[in-house]
């Protein structure tokens, strides 16, 4: 059975909250093409529950650098900082979504996040797997969500 499209909205709202609280900036939803290529940095987490899912939050290095700078106030950003930011954003977003989905068929536990880096990456899912895409934008900086169930 396909996962309901509302799920993507729940994760997107969770990401918007995480970005607003931790960076102080307002990121607004923008439309994206389904199946868009992953950006250079992707934080990912398996959503372990009755229905397993995969959450990816991906952005360009510049956009992830911007998030780190807004979160910490630091201008000097290393590659490790960018990786750490991707990890923490996916972790906090999953945590926030977990609260929203508690008690539902899509309730899940948090697992260890992972970051993948590299330009032009694509994600391929098996047939009949539900894949949702959404994105948030702040001053030209885009943060994407990809949700797979």
């Amino acid at each position: 059975m396909s996962a309901p499209p509302e799920l993507c909205g729940i994760f997107s709202d969770a990401l918007a909250e995480v970005l607003a609280v931790s960076t102080g900036a307002q990121y607004h939803p923008v439309s994206v093409r389904p199946g868009e290529t992953l950006c250079a940095v992707a934080g990912m987490m398996t959503l372990a529950g009755q229905k397993h899912g995969l959450l990816l939050i991906h952005a360009s290095e510049a956009a992830m650098r911007e998030v780190y700078t807004l979160m910490t106030g630091a201008d000097d950003v290393t590659d490790a900082d960018i990786t750490d930011t991707a990890c923490e954003i996916v972790n906090m977003t999953a945590g926030s979504a977990k609260l929203r989905l508690g008690g539902s068929d899509y309730a899940f536990s948090l697992t260890t996040p992972l970051v993948i880096k590299g330009d032009g990456m694509s994600l391929f899912a098996k047939q009949r797997v539900s894949v949702f895409d959404a994105a948030l934008e702040c001053a030209g900086s885009l943060i994407h969500i990809k949700l797979v169930y």
Partner: protein
């Protein structure tokens, strides 16, 4: 006043350290549960508050909390959980294990500073 900041995220440690600086508190850091226990063993007489993430490699923050509260030498040190695990069952489990306060990520700097002051002043969840 000295804080022990325990989190596997360097960004989160940096944010908490900046808050400690604003509050004129000294801080030391650990990036997992095992390192946290080492820091406590080394400096327990001077640590006034432990800020503890839950999900970390090597040893979870919850296991660190249980270990601290099981040891007479360390159980007086207040612990605040700072974690993405925001559901009621986790909060109750942490409080039962001896956490004096609980802050769910994401948090604003203002919330963080206010919670730290609550802990130092003896506030509770």
């Amino acid at each position: 006043m000295k804080l022990l900041i325990v989190d596997d995220s360097s960004a989160i440690r940096k944010i908490i350290k900046a808050a400690a600086d604003v509050l004129h508190m000294e801080s030391i850091e650990a990036c997992d549960g095992v390192e946290a226990l080492e820091k406590v063993t080394e400096s327990y007489e001077s640590i006034d508050l432990v800020l503890l993430d839950w999900n970390m490699p090597e040893m979870s923050g919850y296991d660190v909390l249980v270990a601290l509260k099981a040891d007479e030498k360390y159980r007086h040190i207040p612990v605040m959980m700072v974690t993405t695990e925001g559901q009621k069952t986790s909060i109750v489990a942490a409080v039962k294990a001896g956490a004096g306060n609980y802050l769910t990520k994401p948090f604003s700097v203002e919330e963080l500073e206010s919670k730290i002051l609550e802990c130092i002043g003896g506030g509770s969840v």
